[in-house]
């Protein structure tokens, strides 16, 4: 029993939340609301996928918001839009994804070769990308006129937008990568015991660069989908992505100390967080309190999940 709670705790928590909210709110357990939850979970899920590989390796990446905003701006000024004359059509998508990959790979390379903690490197990268987004921003808010992108959010199949289907597909790919590729398998192992892997001749640095690059790619994809959803290019579009992503990963069991968790766990974490937000609004909690709630959840989740690791002789920075 206690083993079950340990291994499936987040899933039980999610079930518990759904049951409680269904009892206290009539509208929570409706098809329309479930669709709303999935829509709200899609973009955080994509960010969490990228972050999960990085966290499994015991690193951290804070650059989410900057990279997503930058991606959003690059997209909105290179496709058909209301401000600039550039229009490279759907080629903008690979361009933006490459930009994301490049930012991620740069963070990892700086962290590895200049020997700086990823926390600081990605903090710097966060700022740098926010600033780059501002520099690239044209004079006025560019409206996206490329319908093939905006339709992703508008066009619905069985009540769900293409964004949700795209996210589901990405989750499947990420699960496959986690289970079937050397990169996926080694990512968790790096977080658990890097020295042994180095001694075994595993090229750890390559896997680290790959994880950050993939994470950057995911953030860029999130930036594209945000563009599809809001229909404009905005330097603030990525703001608010970092918190829920970290909270979701930790809630699901992908710990900041590395070596644990995975895509499945992080996705459950995303659902917990989104259901919590949605349910609390349903039962009448002020949405302005949302970030306070998320902040408290992060602290409680990290403290609770690492409680058994507490030792007197342990460095906490």
């Amino acid at each position: 029993m206690s083993n079950l709670i340990k291994s499936q705790g987040p899933l039980l928590a999610l079930t518990g939340l759904v049951v409680i909210f269904s009892v206290f709110s009539e509208s929570f357990a409706s098809m329309a609301n479930f669709a709303a939850v999935l829509e709200a979970a899609a973009i955080p899920a994509i960010v969490a996928i990228g972050l999960t590989y990085v966290l499994m390796q015991a690193s951290i990446d804070l650059s989410v918001e900057g990279v997503a905003s930058l991606a959003n701006i690059i997209l909105s000024i290179t496709v058909a839009n209301s401000v600039t004359t550039t229009d490279i059509g759907l080629w903008a998508i690979p361009l933006v994804l490459c930009a994301g990959l490049l930012v991620g790979a740069t963070s990892a390379a700086v962290s590895i070769y200049v020997r700086m903690p990823s926390l600081i490197v990605t903090l710097g990268m966060w700022l740098t990308t926010v600033g780059m987004a501002a520099l690239l921003f044209p004079d006025r808010l560019p409206q996206l006129l490329e319908t093939r992108i905006t339709q992703l959010a508008i066009d619905k199949q069985f009540g769900l937008s293409w964004i949700v289907y795209l996210t589901l597909a990405l989750i499947l790919v990420a699960l496959w990568v986690e289970k079937y590729t050397r990169f996926g398998r080694m990512s968790r192992a790096i977080g658990e015991n890097e020295p042994v892997l180095i001694m075994s001749g595993i090229k750890v640095n390559r896997h680290k660069i790959a994880a950050f690059a993939l994470a950057g790619g995911c953030y860029a994809l999130a930036g594209i989908l945000l563009g599809a959803r809001i229909g404009v290019g905005n330097t603030q579009s990525g703001v608010g992505l970092l918190f829920p992503a970290i909270a979701a990963c930790v809630l699901g069991g992908t710990l900041l100390s590395g070596g644990q968790g995975g895509i499945r766990q992080s996705m459950i974490g995303v659902l917990i967080l989104v259901s919590l937000r949605n349910g609390l609004i349903q039962i009448g909690v002020d949405p302005l309190l949302q970030s306070a709630l998320e902040g408290a959840v992060i602290i409680i989740a990290v403290a609770g999940s690492t409680w058994h690791l507490r030792r007197k002789v342990r460095v906490i920075k």
């Binding site: 990823s118 306070a292 902040g295 990290v302 906490i316």
Partner: protein
């Protein structure tokens, strides 16, 4: 000179050299900046940032990071404004004292829960922001007019901004504390080797609680200074100050790995951060692009000041 001695020199005096270079560059581009009036108003405008930098130095000396300072400054501004009709001048004192207590609680929790400081303070950032939004209903709140504390903070003595004088006093007090008190000794030693200091019998939870109390208290003071200038507060009024504040501390030469640096070096770093902002403005670039400058400066400053012997595996 060998590579090591150059690096050593840069670590010791790098901040002053950088300050001189930037000052020269900025004053060449805009000679008006060197006039006393311009400097004075620059110092007055940036006193909130400088006081936050002074406070944020203490956790970083321990090797910790307090990401909640800007949110705390905003919340403090909001609280001070809301309490000002009822409490008058006391509202400022109450807010700063309360912030210090909350900061102390944060620091204490890091040790008790054994959760890294950046997680606790990131969570605290969210909590402060949420409470601020809720209290103000995401709107502006004004301060009651004619309260002496805020009027004093917003004005000048002997032609110098009172807020800036307060920054200097607090920085001087912290410097004395770090140099002359047992607590100051413990803070530096803690940053150098937490475990050895603990085994030497130092109450590490108390040391950490004090450092975070100082950083929160200073952040709240910064918030109070802000409303004394603008007379209005919102739940996001100080949010953009987090990164310039961290830039100031690390550019001043306080190593993010702990144990090295000081409040006065941070003040120099703070002046650099201010000049970077000014430089971006007079160069005609959009103001947001100062973030690129900050991001790159933070990376270079940390690369130069981190003691790599102390971080075995880079994570």
């Amino acid at each position: 000179m060998t590579k090591d001695t150059i690096l050593m020199f840069l670590r010791r005096n790098g901040a002053l050299v950088v300050l001189a270079i930037i000052l020269t560059a900025v004053s060449t581009a805009a000679p008006g900046i060197l006039r006393w009036r311009a400097i004075n108003s620059l110092l007055q405008d940036n006193a909130p940032l400088l006081i936050m930098i002074v406070g944020a130095t203490l956790p970083i000396l321990l090797g910790c990071l307090d990401l909640s300072i800007a949110a705390m400054a905003s919340l403090a501004a909001v609280m001070a404004a809301m309490l000002s009709p009822a409490l008058g001048s006391a509202s400022a004192y109450v807010v700063v004292a309360g912030a210090a207590m909350i900061g102390g609680l944060q620091g204490w929790m890091i040790g008790r829960l054994q959760v890294p400081s950046f997680v606790i303070s990131l969570g605290a950032l969210g909590i402060f922001k949420g409470i601020g939004m809720y209290l103000t209903a995401a709107d502006m709140v004004g301060i009651a007019p004619g309260i002496s504390v805020y009027e004093t903070l917003g004005s000048r003595s002997f032609g110098i901004s009172n807020a800036f004088i307060l920054v200097l006093i607090v920085a001087w007090l912290f410097t004395l504390m770090l140099k002359l008190s047992n607590l100051g000794r413990n803070i530096y030693a803690f940053g150098a080797n937490e475990i050895a200091v603990y085994i030497s019998g130092v109450r590490r939870d108390m040391v950490r609680a004090f450092a975070f109390a100082a950083s929160s208290g200073c952040a709240a003071l910064g918030g109070v200074m802000m409303i004394s200038q603008t007379m209005f507060a919102s739940a996001t009024v100080a949010n953009s100050l987090l990164l310039p504040a961290l830039v100031g501390v690390v550019v001043g030469g306080t190593a993010i790995s702990g144990g090295v640096g000081g409040v006065l070096s941070s003040l120099i770093g703070g002046l650099i951060a201010i000049l970077i902002r000014v430089g971006v403005t007079i160069s005609g670039l959009p103001p947001e692009s100062q973030d690129v400058a900050f991001g790159i400066t933070i990376l270079i400053a940390v690369a130069l000041t981190t003691d790599r012997a102390k971080i075995g595996l880079v994570k």
